[in-house]
Symmetry: C2
Subunit: 425 residues, 2 copies
């Protein structure tokens, strides 16, 4: 075989055949090896072997070499105290993510209703729907599963998913969002079963946590697309995601996705309660509805803390999502926002779901800044930091302190040595 130099020249030549004419600049270790025959046993990869065990038959585990884990949020390790105990907030390792499904074991978790998760026996759990309905209904989990089901891909994002100059990785800046395939019953199906009274305008969803918080949402949302979910990524909900049942109001901020759901009361007004601490507006409609997520996007590779091995070809990869519907386009800038280029959508955009985007880029080895910007199907465009600063009349470098959700464009700085850092810092 040729020398490494020959090999690299051939790669560059071969690269011209790639879609988009990209070339791999410097591969981490490119050296071709000759083999005589397909059946020749290779000597590389003489790995130790794992024998099947009862546990591996029943429920498989990941490789001991895969160590991607969630971290506490906000970073620092100490849980934040709140009025009712310790908050359990953990962020998903987006820097290691591929595709759009978040593995259930790595789905972000936020609880603001106490740090303990109810350990619910599904045979004893019931969901009651009452209030302004013709016929109240109490359903066991078996009852609930007899109704017509739907399966939908939806993201959830915590309102606290903000990017600030102090954060180092995309897990820290954006890890409080995840996406899963949810299965359950449309809330509209259950409400039609009960029969809504004419005065029904809002509903309150209550979970079984220690703190009896509840969330108010408009009946219009209930009749549109709210899902009463018992399945997640092909199996039962995980305890951290509200086992045995939660509500998914697609596109609303995470706190409305009440877990351990046991009661829905149909009412004629907006009920302020514990969960409204984040959005205590005068106007009840605004209080409930000003907090629809996105549009938002973030580059997950390359992102803070990662290292480019050298100049050459890279596929910039990231996630985009919106509470306004499906993502229509994602743009990527590799020059600090001067020029925006259309990214490729790697998965089919779905309503209120993460979409994976990619942009093929040849890095010339100079320091730069990379950014992404999403537009959703109703035409909402993710805001630049400069725009948000202007709206709120604050300096650009303080725009992360403005009220409301933070869906501004996230910059990653790439230094000449290939190191990637938070562009807000």
């Amino acid at each position: 075989m040729g020398s490494e130099r020959t090999s690299r020249r051939e790669l560059l030549k071969g690269g011209a055949a790639l879609a988009g004419g990209v070339t791999l600049g410097e591969l981490a270790s490119s050296q071709a090896q000759a083999h005589d025959h397909p059946m020749t046993p290779g000597s590389q990869n003489a790995s130790p072997m794992i024998l099947g065990s009862k546990e591996l038959v029943e429920y498989g585990q990941r490789s001991r070499y895969v160590t991607s884990v969630r971290i506490q949020h906000p970073p620092g390790g100490r849980p934040s105290p709140d009025l009712f105990g310790k908050v359990f907030h953990v962020a998903s390792p987006l820097q290691d993510s591929v595709g759009v499904i978040t593995p259930s074991s790595l789905h972000y978790v936020a609880t603001t209703r106490g740090s303990y998760m109810p350990d619910i026996d599904p045979k004893l759990h019931t969901l009651t729907i009452h209030g302004l309905v013709d016929q109240p209904l109490t359903l066991t989990m078996d009852d609930l599963k007899r109704f017509p089901s739907v399966t939908r891909l939806h993201f959830i994002e915590c309102a606290g998913n903000r990017h600030t100059p102090r954060q180092k990785t995309v897990q820290e800046t954006h890890g409080m969002t995840s996406c899963a395939e949810w299965t359950g019953v449309l809330l509209s199906t259950l409400l039609k079963e009960c029969g809504l009274k004419g005065s029904a305008t809002w509903f309150v969803a209550e979970g079984a946590e220690e703190v009896k918080g509840a969330s108010s949402m408009p009946i219009a949302k209930a009749m549109d697309d709210c899902l009463i979910a018992y399945g997640m990524n092909g199996e039962a909900l995980r305890p951290q995601q509200g086992f045995p049942v939660r509500i998914i109001p697609p596109g609303f901020e995470g706190i409305f996705h009440t877990k351990y759901l046991r009661r829905i009361k149909v009412v004629d007004r907006y009920y302020m309660n514990y969960n409204d601490f984040g959005h205590l507006r005068e106007d009840p409609k605004e209080a409930a509805l000003s907090e629809q997520i996105g549009p938002k996007s973030v580059i997950t590779y390359p992102s803070g803390g990662q290292q480019l091995p050298g100049r050459g070809f890279y596929e910039i990869s990231g996630l985009a999502w919106s509470g306004g519907g499906a993502i229509r386009t994602v743009e990527v800038s590799t020059d600090g926002g001067k020029k925006w280029n259309l990214a490729e959508l790697k998965t089919t955009p779905q309503r209120m779901a993460h979409v994976r985007f990619g942009y093929q880029w040849t890095w010339d080895g100079n320091a730069t800044e990379i950014l992404s910007r999403a537009t959703d199907e109703i035409g909402q465009v993710q805001a630049l930091r400069e725009q948000i600063a202007q709206w709120w009349n604050v300096p650009v470098e303080r725009n992360y302190r403005v009220p409301g959700l933070d869906n501004s464009v996230m910059p990653w700085k790439i230094a000449k040595d290939g190191s990637v850092t938070n562009g807000l810092a």
Copy 2:
């Protein structure tokens, strides 16, 4: 609140408002409860609580009440001996499945190259592409991940996924298929990087198992849709699925999906080898290509071993898939095959992926047989048992013994007491 009788009458009345006019006949335990105010703490569901631990922060686990597990295949518990040791075959619990994603921990596993799984350090693993190419290539995992990626939903099915009269559950009859979101690089991208010589017509994919088996596939398949996958359901491949990298030739039977992939040789002929034991045909093209999966479907609820609590409304639920492309339609019969009704597709059909179907049915309490039948986008229709028996000139009750893959329609018998059993028995 009214008596249980009143409650049930109201449910039936309410049920008329459901899409399709279905009614829930007998709910397992329907009793409505009154509540005074959304904020009233309920006394039901006073569940014990789980406190967050380091393990629960890092990588969440399922509820102790969720006990769905894989089982050895074929059923009976004893691993089948083969030439090279014990085969590790485990089937997915389809009776508990929802949606189309199979959780990675529950994905079916079949190994015919030894029962031990290589325990591979991804930093040491390489993939070599050589043979009839202009420039051989050896890629580390880091190299591989720099190429443009794709994310696709694909099923895999073992050729041994056959339904016979002795099997009791859908896990036993059909559990050797699963579906996941796979992320990786198109093999065509890598082959364009290498440059194919004109004589290249086949390729051989080799894994790092004990037994150095390999599979031959046509170059046309490589250039079409073969995926070199390193990601599965949003994280790294699991060891049982070939960590750190496997090949996915969509729609081909499972044995072609070489795991622990370390070598692809481009060749000018079909190589017969150990993995061809299942299809030793005279014609090499037929040997490789006669084993494309499906079209196929199966009802997962209600299925063997399950119990209908009584007459009334049910949503029959199941999975359909084909190696010929996306599923176009699924039909369900609830009268033993006399009348076929169009089922609802609950998820968007994708090429060589499971699709979830549902059919709303009111059971009158009489004994019957339910079946499903899939048609794919190229017009292939899943065969009835009677058709297969006629083709092979065997009695209908022996049609599961015919050669080749078994994609015949699966019948489930429902007795008057609501018990569900294998309709082949």
